[in-house]
Assembly symmetry: D3
Homo-oligomer: 290 residues x 6
């Protein structure tokens, strides 16, 4: 598999990828690719094909698509022609494939489905990120991801210019309103959580008003999320938190749109998170041509 | 688990569902739900919650969400208040949950992610289907589905009013342009495939012009897909095929929009397929309240 | 792995095969091949061996046997000397193997067990199929297969000259007496099923008398199974169905023997199905010689 | 699940059984039991059914069939009416089932396939075993079993009256001709193997003549297999071995038929092994009636 | 399953535990618990037993042992009599078990192996932790854990009084000497890592001298590890870091013994990490009595 | 992968090893090796490293460590410089590694954890075994092994000079006090077990006094374990058993220490088993240097 580009984004090793891709291929193949198998009576042939963009957008997932084909047949070649994260135009050639006919045909749909979904996410993410240009505020994703696809969807988010938020329930501790209620208050919740979690993990607290912001700040939250606050309230919250230095990261969340994101950023928050690139984006249209 | 509604759509048995849901839960939980585990020091408590629609739409996936919680804790109750496929309004209560606090909190995100994605698909499907009201033409999905989610996404498509197209490469034989080229023609491709596939399976042939339509018809295709044809050409193709009786199903595909679908249907095709409800829809916003 | 023969029958890709073969090898190896491991102290040696037929029969499964050895050691060579489906005689050499001694010894039993079972099925199938020579009627298998082996047993059935019936509960809809009873009649059952299944799937109805045949015919069954009917009744049923054209496939089932199959075929049915090659066949004796 | 019989034979715990049965159910169900799911629109109903013998034979596998249904639905009841190993006649009722309609229908084929194959093995085994009545010689199975089914097929063999031979390559060390050749002789092979295997494991040596028998005896084989010897040679071999006491078990193998087994036993061997009940038996016909 | 104690430490939900325990049970059971299965011919009996400490120590893992038995048979009762983390004496009764005889016998070894290993870790951890009494410094574990057991071994570490370090390569970013070399310096490494990781994750830098400490501090490390430094150097490093406030956590590692740990803590570091409770501890002897 | 040494000990084939190692790598990697992935932006580099002993001891597990790296990247080279079981000194180089930087870093911890644990076991085993030099008595392990690691820990035990005891509940039948009680006596227990187990399996009986020894002997036990007996009683038991010839193997167990083992051996027992090398050993310190 040839590629002239460095892997600029965080993809886990093939051991991890393969454990995801194998069941996805089996989902589509089921008990066998009926048509391709029937054609094999005529013998296996080496073929080549190209991948073409059918929409403008930001490309993500080509190295993963390459792995899809290789798991079907190690002789498959998938030459990536554009860098992950490249802005491409309708009609542009993204990759050249060659290898056994049957792997090309059997793998086509799964590989395209992945790349189309991931490129769609990258493209939508880019629309938010590009509003923040020249500002220090970063754009982050959430845990609203398609079940089974989180690692790859968060990879696409990164390709689109976002910084990833936590990957699951275990790599950072987010204390939400229901946790606070169960614990009996923000102070109690932070204390319980700090006492139990691996020490390098950070604690984030969701807050809805200045009192909660102050309580989270006083009890050592590492990240304070301003949840669904208006711009004015956000500005006040940022002031309150910054009064204690810049030790604490401030995340804004809720009602984040492309139109509104820049004004949120200008309140001084460090991070703006939104699930929109996962839940409100469309797939980028790509196709394979022989 | 109580429900006052019959299962009106095709959900496979729990054995199949569980094999999907378990890895999705483990994806989110990772090595443990840090915050919820920490709160357990205060003891497990029974809690109740509701699921609320935050957008208008067609609901799909509540029985699956119920199963998510039950796999975490068999004591969880998830009472579905609206029928799958119901049209709901912002603010409507969709389900009542009760059970151990920790299962409620740990399962919330995966369950909501599933129901939001599936309801989004059902809602988008409904927009196409409702254009076909009073026409005999049915709307179908495609194999452009999120890897790992096909069974559930196609279920949501059905909930939204569509009929499912084939589920994978093995339950129907679709002969596409590349297969035709490899076989040396439509006649040859049909012959090779018919000789190999399980006999109850149907053969569908993708066609781009009337010559191909005629060749597919002459060699016994069960379904003829009119791929990316204009309305006029479609009408002619339908006439050609119907001249041989109504044995053959006619599927139209390509450039299917909500605006255009009715005029396609009026050409007399039996089925119109589109990936748009999977690839162009947004998730329906739902939330859980304690 | 060298082979001079085209794959004339429908084997799924290695990704599917490997997911079957790996647990079968682990079943036999358990915590380790005690004797072979002990011999390894003397070092690994390359060896060669042959596979010999110890009975006359139809060979099936050699490419699968080859894969068994390759999963143990990618350096294993397994040269197939006879085409799948070839009629071989006692003493005939079927394949030449060479590679690391330990893979040869550890893989021998699983590979032979597979090929013996599959060749036994192909041989028994051939006995039925050869009775149908020069008739249009085809011979089909059923869902009576050894749990876990269906894909391969149905492959062997095809090698033996049969056409496969459906592969599972999901790639065709077979409405049986209990379904009819639960639905409240054939018409109701067909209506319920047609409304729910993927549209390319066919519906087959099991019938026991002419009334049922007529009802199935009237309500659009794609395949009508004449279940355990006498020859006279079958002839009448065929007449009834053909009166409506040749849109509907007719399958005969029940009490199918090598002696009786030709007379069944002569009633004009399209398909005769029987589980006998799976449930009444013996394994073909094969052995490996160093 | 009710049963009035003790488990008289060696079935592993449900944890082991379930890991076998689950993938077998998924093999048949695939993406869903199309017909049964469609009928569910009319609601789930409790039904009852019986299992009937359609051939005379020895029944095996009913507790396993029960588990098949329970894995589909824990509410399924499967009352076993005849003891494992019972000799039953055509028409006899073997079990009563009741529970949700959909579990009954979806599980039927897998459960019957298992019980039919296992009862066929038990029945065939019984034919060999009954020839040995009043003799001390026992009948044993081999490693020629259907891939994936070994634990259950060997269970059926036991139900039919056999004693199991080793279960895999790891629970006893069988030194065969190729091992002997690779080691440089029987003495060398035994020495290498004894030095490496877990100490409670026995060593069996395949022998073809009296020299080999003597060598195996001299170097401490625990079991000596007389492979494909004539009756006369077997008698001599038994004498040679018994001269050294009865420490060593003697197994006869090769060319074992129902007709010949008693004369083999009368040579004085301890065990006669044959794969015939696995490789030469037919399935016992059973059916389910509502 | 009865327990009068709150779960005071971080155990993940049963979904996670079960995915660990099932293969461990299958490892021991293999193809069946030979002796227990044989005894079942006499019928299943309910039995009770107790777990007894045969050494003084800190108990950990009893809820996990309970789950082992329940996975074998849901009817098993395992009443925990001492709280996780309790200091027990030789002869003390730790738990009462009752349930089907076969589950008691089959599960005994796996359950005891787990509890013995985990209690051994808790006991050894306690020896380090008790040296830190009245000091603010906490004791932490490392990634030197038995493959496959990390979640449970880290749980035992917590039961013994430690705070967990990161759970794997993905929930915190530890920059080591080889990473620094590859990146071209601490500054470069921190920049590369910060740009790629999920934003809530912390970055820890391993340092060997004051220059490295200063560089890590200047470039925004969240945690600075003083690796194998002498006490004097550690004190200086702490001073350097504290000069910048208490934003940065300081971890000491290397050459940590029970004798030396207090003097390390007195240098003012926040955390002292050591693999010794995993790699240098012995299992606590426990036994089951009927 | 180069190695100049023969595999002198019983390692199962890679198919078995890989099924163990893959989940262990995934346990550590989780959703990705954060730091290594971030460094990949600078491109992949080939690096080399060495493994060094940081303690004196007996090395075990280097071929397994090699496989860990190869599963991450097939291009990894791991040249073993010392034979399994070699006695090495602090500072000695054990292996040379080279290959892609990211595989070296990502695999380091899992590979080292395995080799350190296994070398610790081999080293501790050697201390017992070396006490038996010039005596015929062999030293054996037990089923007290870390869950999930039994095959490898027993391999290390063998490397350290022990002979393995049974590998699980299924490859030999050990009748313990609770089994005896349930069966109603040793004679009854042996009879039940002998009737059910595969015939090549041996039966071992745990005995606590001479009466039990005699009963076990009289009823055909293959191995008699003298459980926790004093030296005098052991000597008497050996005499009783040897009076019947040397057909029966005698195992001593309980209170086995390095100091006491030789005197136990001198009672004439064949095998002395102890879990101490698994439960009382420390890991051997090894490190990887670039």
């Amino acid at each position: 598999m040839a590629s002239k580009f460095l892997p600029s984004f965080s993809l886990p090793s093939n051991l991890v990828l393969d454990s995801l891709i194998r069941p996805w291929l089996l989902e589509d193949i089921g008990r066998g690719d009926r048509v391709t198998q029937a054609l094999m009576v005529k013998g296996s042939q080496a073929k080549s094909a190209t991948w073409i963009a059918k929409e403008n957008g930001i490309v993500a997932g080509l190295p993963i698509a390459a792995r899809v084909f290789q798991l079907l047949d190690p002789e498959m070649e998938f030459e990536v022609l554009v860098k992950e994260g490249a802005r491409v135009m309708t009609g542009e050639t993204l990759a050249k494939l060659s290898g056994p006919f049957e792997a090309l045909l059997t793998g086509e749909r799964v590989a395209l489905n992945l790349a189309m979904r991931l490129s769609g996410i990258a493209t939508a993410t880019d629309q938010f990120v590009s509003q923040l240009e020249d500002l220090p505020t970063r754009f982050a994703d959430t845990r609203k991801t398609t079940p089974g696809m989180r690692i790859l969807e968060k990879y696409a988010s990164q390709v689109g210019g976002a910084v990833n938020h936590r990957m699951g329930l275990d790599d950072s501790a987010m204390i939400k309103d229901n946790h606070i209620a169960a614990a009996g208050g923000i102070a109690e919740a932070i204390a319980l959580v700090r006492a139990q979690i691996p020490y390098p993990l950070t604690i984030e607290v969701e807050t809805e008003n200045l009192d909660q912001v102050q309580e989270a700040l006083d009890h050592g939250a590492d990240i304070i999320m301003l949840d669904n606050m208006g711009l004015e309230l956000m500005r006040e919250a940022v002031q309150v938190i910054r009064a204690g230095g810049d030790r604490v990261l401030i995340e804004a969340s809720g009602n984040v749109t492309v139109e509104r994101i820049r004004s949120i950023a200008e309140t001084g928050v460090d991070i703006i998170s939104s699930s929109a690139p996962m839940t409100r984006s469309t797939w980028m249209d790509l196709s394979m041509r022989f």
